[in-house]
């Protein structure tokens, strides 16, 4: 079951790299967040505690409902066309994604972590999410898309955390989740302001500060 989720996470990342619609991208990231929220529950199904259940509910609610809502709102208020507008074409993006996937598997095998992982796919798919997130931040013009890239990166680190440190204290996880929430909130407001000031949300025109 965990393997299935991890494969789906890898596939959603590839879908994001090839997606041309902002709305679709937000939904894909939401779906990825929900699946990852369920991951710790499935990984610890034999020792299910209140801790994991509460965490799963919080993660699913934030990543599956609140984040997409905030992003759709930013998108609606910005009233932009719904194209992604890439620097790097979609096909090239997917090809780069596949290369990153291969690199993740290679690196995942070499990384010196004695995992408590329930699946051998865990570390590679986490690394792939991190790389895909970074790529989305650099290679897309839309500010909303950069936020999505950040979320995918965050998801990757989350996957990693589930796999290798099963015993992260509850309070820490709560703090991390809260920070992610505020980050998306702040970025959403920033997108709105950028749109009002510049009449667009393309970050390639944020180029007045140099040197």
């Amino acid at each position: 079951m965990t393997d299935l989720i991890l494969v789906l996470v890898v596939l959603t990342n590839l879908k994001l790299l090839g997606s041309s619609r902002l709305g679709a991208s937000i939904r894909v990231v939401a779906a990825q967040g929900v699946m990852l929220g369920l991951l710790p529950v499935l990984a610890h199904v034999h020792e299910l505690s209140l801790h994991f259940a509460a965490l799963a509910v919080g993660t699913v609610a934030l990543k599956g409902v609140v984040f997409p809502w905030l992003l759709f709102r930013a998108l609606r208020e910005a009233e932009v066309t719904r194209e992604v507008e890439p620097y790097v074409a979609y096909i090239t993006s997917i090809l780069i994604g596949l290369a990153a996937l291969a690199a993740s598997f290679w690196l995942g095998g070499r990384l010196p972590v004695s995992t408590v992982e329930p699946s051998s796919l865990l570390v590679p798919s986490a690394l792939f999410s991190i790389l895909a997130g970074l790529f989305l931040i650099v290679a897309r013009k839309r500010a909303v898309n950069q936020v999505l890239g950040f979320l995918v990166l965050e998801n990757g680190i989350y996957t990693f955390g589930v796999g290798i440190v099963a015993e992260t204290p509850f309070l820490v996880e709560l703090g991390v989740l809260l920070d992610a929430f505020v980050a998306v909130f702040v970025m959403g407001i920033a997108v709105y302001h950028i749109n009002r000031e510049f009449d667009h949300i393309e970050v390639d025109r944020l180029d007045r500060l140099k040197g």
Partner: protein, 505 residues
């Protein structure tokens, strides 16, 4: 028991002040409440820090809050900078208010975020749990983001976007590193609430998984290094520093960078002990420090904007501090001393740049000339702090850099010594070339000379005198505090640390 309550108050007081600021109805009351709240925090913080420096670490909340010599020293310096900057902010924003640039909404936003950022930074220093420390750093990023665009303009939005995005991604890497540190403790059998406690990891540092720890430290250094403004991850820094209002730039440069660097310092003893005291982590720090010094030196030569110039000075000095920690021994002592000196000096420089910017209506150094004649007090502040920043004797920054050179010679790190001297030399020449016309050039006749009030004069004179005195004479208690803090990084047990045989400058 009493000290435990004080640790909690240190976070609660600024947080409550921040909430209060949202309810007040006049700009002057808001600024007054902000200064009062910060003032109480400073008094509390200095009292606790003094206790810790004299009689050893205190902890609270089942060891989740913990203050030792290193964090107490950093907390003390941070509060000093915050106190000065808050007094300055009230001066700076009163001018904005008089000229009609500040609305009630902006003042509320500023004061609540300002106090919130203080609470978040305090959390970084007093948390023993490395995960919560990370949460504090990320919270400072998000809270200070809007401080950059108190005045919403195209440029300030651009700076804020870059700042939030680059720092969030960087700090996400630091979280990856924190997780890897947790993973390296996997074999120790620590219980879940204990696994990320610094004191536990420090005590068991020898039995952590070294390969895992090395991977972790690389992530941590890149992650927190981004927030600290180490080159080549410094790209957000000049933009954010130049666009933020001057009091915010002062806090950014004065202590937010150091807060992130403090997180790296926390990990140094664990990584050193965990990798068998081979100096692997220290060499990485030396490398990053030198790169930062050289990159900053190259950019300082070609700046036209005064605040961007100061921002690149920050990159240089953060590099110097990192280099000092990397050299170890006397270098660690000098690095901590340099932290205080640089923070004071850079805060003063941003204060002056902000007020002069208000008078001249620009930060462009080609138009900003002859400041000594137009505004003698702030002109002296700017010129004095620039001289101190480039390492002119007998200011304290010269002394700490000299100690660092001595540390490099002691260690036989000749390449580091040469590169450091080269970088500092380029900065000296480059910045002096900017500073002289700035001070004595021909001022545009349109600028109205402005008189400085008593508070403004004090804000200039006190830091300058402080830097001058520290350059000539180091008080005994400060030296003890610095040694105790440096011993935490150098991982000397407290029993040895108090003895007079500690490393003397």
């Amino acid at each position: 028991m009493k000290h435990e309550a004080l640790l909690w108050l240190l976070i609660l007081v600024p947080a409550a002040t921040g909430a209060l600021a949202l309810l007040l109805r006049s700009v002057r009351t808001i600024l007054g409440a902000m200064c009062a709240g910060v003032g109480i925090s400073v008094a509390l913080g200095w009292y606790v820090a003094g206790k810790v420096l004299m009689s050893g670490p205190v902890s609270a909340g089942a060891e989740w809050l913990y203050l030792d010599a290193l964090s107490a020293y950093n907390l003390g310096v941070m509060l000093l900078i915050y106190g000065l900057s808050s007094a300055y902010a009230s001066v700076y924003f009163r001018v904005e208010l008089r000229e009609g640039h500040l609305t009630l909404k902006q003042a509320r936003l500023f004061a609540s975020l300002w106090c919130g950022a203080l609470a978040a930074m305090t959390l970084v220093f007093i948390s023993n749990n490395l995960g919560i420390m990370w949460v504090g750093i990320e919270a400072t990023t998000l809270l200070t983001g809007f401080l950059i665009c108190v005045h919403v303009t195209g440029e300030s939005l651009e700076a804020m976007w870059k700042y939030i995005l680059i720092c969030s991604v960087g700090v996400a890497f630091a979280f990856m590193g924190t997780l890897l540190v947790g993973a390296s403790a996997h074999g120790l059998g620590l219980r879940a609430p204990e696994v990320l406690l610094w004191t536990r990891l420090q005590a068991h540092a020898g039995s952590l998984n070294p390969a895992c720890l090395k991977a972790a430290f690389i992530f941590l250094l890149v992650g927190y290094g981004t927030k600290a403004g180490l080159a080549p991850m410094h790209n957000w820094l000049p933009d954010a520093h130049s666009q933020a209002p001057a009091p915010v730039s002062a806090i950014f440069s004065g202590f937010m960078l150091n807060t992130a660097l403090y997180c790296v310092m926390r990990y140094v003893p664990i990584v050193e002990a965990g990798t068998g005291n081979t100096g692997w982590g220290l060499r990485l720090l030396t490398g990053f420090g030198l790169i930062s010094i050289l990159v900053a030196a190259a950019f300082i030569l070609f700046q036209h904007d005064l605040k961007r110039l100061l921002a690149y000075h920050s990159v240089e000095h953060i590099g110097i501090i990192t280099l000092g920690v990397g050299l170890g021994g006397l270098g660690t002592f000098a690095a901590l001393f340099h932290t205080l000196n640089h923070s004071l000096c850079k805060t003063l420089a941003f204060f002056a740049a902000g007020r002069l910017g208000q008078m001249f209506g620009t930060h462009d150094m080609r138009k900003l000339a002859g400041v000594m004649r137009v505004a003698p007090v702030w002109g002296m502040g700017l010129f004095g702090s620039l001289l101190a920043l480039i390492g002119v004797a007998p200011f304290a920054l010269f002394m700490s850099e000299l100690q660092m050179l001595k540390a490099a010679v002691d260690k036989g790190a000749i390449l580091a010594l040469v590169l450091f001297l080269f970088g500092a030399g380029v900065v000296f020449v480059g910045a002096l070339g900017h500073a002289i016309p700035l001070a004595w050039g021909k001022a545009a006749s349109t600028v109205q000379p402005a008189r400085a009030g008593t508070l403004e004069t004090l804000l200039v004179v006190v830091p300058l005198v402080f830097l001058l005195v520290l350059g000539l004479w180091m008080p005994g208690p400060l030296q003890t505090a610095l040694n105790a803090a440096a011993d935490v990084i150098r991982h000397v047990s407290p029993a040895l640390a108090g003895s007079p045989g500690g490393i003397m400058p």
